[in-house]
């Protein structure tokens, strides 16, 4: 039932720490940068990683979902912020707001923030579809035994409970209870016993779970760990590129190169800043480039 599905791509063959660090770096840099060229660079890098992971169709679902959020960003920034100077549209006077003025600066800022949102959404899309959640949870098991065990068990119970729900609904239907027809109130009344039975059945199962935990020796001593994920040369290459990009990104942010002045008037682009953004993008597309080589040259595949 998990929406993660393994595919034939290098992205799925990376150590979970490597993929998570790449995604975290992209998200962090997106939140730090406000310069449109830097944000576009991040978008290109994450887009290439998404394409390398062969999840472009799922990515489009994510982008479609972000349209609503993007609309709010555009409305709030263009209508409620009057800090720009280049007026492109002057609207009616609204009580409490004054005359609505849409400025070029506010529009550009909205577009840049839209790109930031798309970058963050794309990074999480990559996390959802290309990273095995079990492996990520197990990574943290070392630090939070109980929390991770609880989360893993909850994820395991999920499909079982869906089955339970379907089974209970079928039983009730066989008894003549109408769950899909009738008024909203009638259907709500009919679903009440289904939910109660589901709750009872889930609680009974939790007893069995507790018993098996007890039998397997939960809490009897210190927990041991066994990790089957190996660190391979490809992980070192990607982690190294992530570290370099983080150092460059943070350095650019400290120097003020990654930020951009939108208000009161947009500033011109500096060639030096753009060069750094291009360099940063080249570093961040390493996973996508490696995947390309991994598929093309069997020798490279065997070496990394």
């Amino acid at each position: 039932m998990l929406i993660y599905k393994k595919k034939d791509s290098l992205i799925y063959e990376l150590h979970p720490v490597t993929t998570v660090s790449f995604i975290a770096a992209i998200t962090l840099l997106a939140l730090i940068f406000s310069h449109p060229v830097y944000l576009l660079g991040l978008l290109l890098a994450v887009g290439m990683a998404v394409a390398a992971a062969e999840i472009t169709r799922e990515w489009f679902y994510y982008l479609r979902f972000s349209l609503g959020m993007m609309a709010v960003i555009i409305i709030v920034n263009t209508i409620f912020v009057q800090a720009g100077t280049t007026v492109v549209f002057s609207g009616p006077r609204i009580p409490g707001l004054g005359r609505v003025k849409v400025t070029m600066e506010a529009l550009l800022f909205s577009i840049a923030m839209g790109i930031r949102l798309v970058v963050a959404m794309s990074a999480f899309c990559l996390y959802t579809y290309a990273v095995n959640p079990d492996k990520v949870l197990k990574l943290f098991g070392r630090f939070g035994n109980r929390s991770i065990l609880t989360a893993i068990m909850a994820a395991r119970l999920f499909p079982l409970m869906i089955k339970d729900f379907k089974r209970i609904v079928e039983v009730y239907r066989c008894r003549g209870v109408k769950l899909n027809t009738g008024s909203w109130l009638q259907r709500s009344k009919n679903i009440l016993p289904v939910m109660n039975v589901l709750l009872l059945s889930c609680l009974e199962r939790s007893f069995q779970l507790a018993e098996s935990l007890w039998i397997k020796g939960y809490g009897s001593g210190k927990r041991t760990f066994y990790n089957r994920d190996l660190w391979r040369p490809r992980d070192f290459i990607v982690v190294f590129s992530v570290l370099i990009s983080l150092i460059i990104g943070i350095w650019a942010a400290i120097k003020g190169w990654a930020s951009y002045t939108y208000y009161p008037r947009v500033e011109s682009f500096n060639l030096g800043e753009i060069k750094l953004a291009v360099f940063l993008t080249f570093i961040l597309i390493v996973p996508a480039v490696l995947n390309w080589g991994w598929k093309r040259w069997p020798l490279l595949k065997s070496k990394i």
């Binding site: 998200t27 939140l31 930031r116 899309c125 939070g144 109980r146 909850a154 007893f207 507790a210 939960y218």
Partner: protein, 205 residues
């Protein structure tokens, strides 16, 4: 430092502090099994109602668990329900915020149970309705700090006004679920709590 990054750091610390307390507590296998079961149930209820935007019984399930089993259990159930349901619905920048918000739903219900005896549907329903809005307000923080500039009262009110219809739907859903399922879930869970509570008596003489 960017306000969005700062808000994420504060949120991360808040989540870590709750989970750290959970790790340090003496938790029995029965409790672990119960928390994972209720978290899974809350997550399922979110997926089953995913088609109706913002009307999901998750908040109610988390709150009633917190009400019966206490604020700590309520928090862990809420946080894990958000994480696990997103394995199936899709993770996003919203995941840590949902974990915190649903966790706090459980905490507040647990605290309400501490100041009253038994189950009072009226107060519980009001709290559930309030959480429909508070949940949205917490979720809006990230949106406001990350994508809006300048951060002033005007943009704050505009961002929060945009979420108002969705928050109202969430609140209405919570109220309906609390009214329909509140009493029966409370009795079932309370009976179960008694079943799993074990008191060891050292000296029988």
């Amino acid at each position: 430092m960017s306000w969005a990054v700062l808000s994420m750091i504060i949120l991360g610390f808040a989540l870590l502090s709750f989970f750290w307390r959970f790790e340090k507590r003496d938790v029995s296998p029965k409790e672990i099994a119960l928390i994972s079961t209720m978290a899974s149930m809350a997550a399922i209820s979110r997926v089953l109602f995913a088609a109706i935007m913002n009307v999901q019984p998750t908040t109610f399930v988390v709150m009633i668990t917190g009400y019966v089993f206490g604020p700590h259990t309520g928090f862990v159930v809420g946080a894990i329900a958000a994480l696990v349901s997103n394995f199936f619905l899709g993770q996003g920048p919203w995941t840590p915020w949902q974990m915190f918000s649903w966790g706090m739903c459980g905490v507040s219900a647990g605290l309400l149970a501490g100041i009253q005896k038994g189950f009072k549907p009226g107060r519980f329903t009001v709290l559930a309705g309030l959480w429909g809005y508070v949940f949205g307000w917490i979720m809006n923080i990230w949106h406001w700090t990350a994508f809006v500039y300048p951060l002033n009262w005007k943009t704050f009110v505009a961002t929060y006004a945009a979420s108002f219809p969705f928050d109202t739907l969430h609140a209405a859903g919570n109220v309906v679920f609390a009214l329909i399922f509140g009493q029966s879930f409370y009795y079932t869970l309370s009976r179960f709590r008694k079943k799993i509570s074990v008191k060891y008596i050292d000296d029988l003489s």
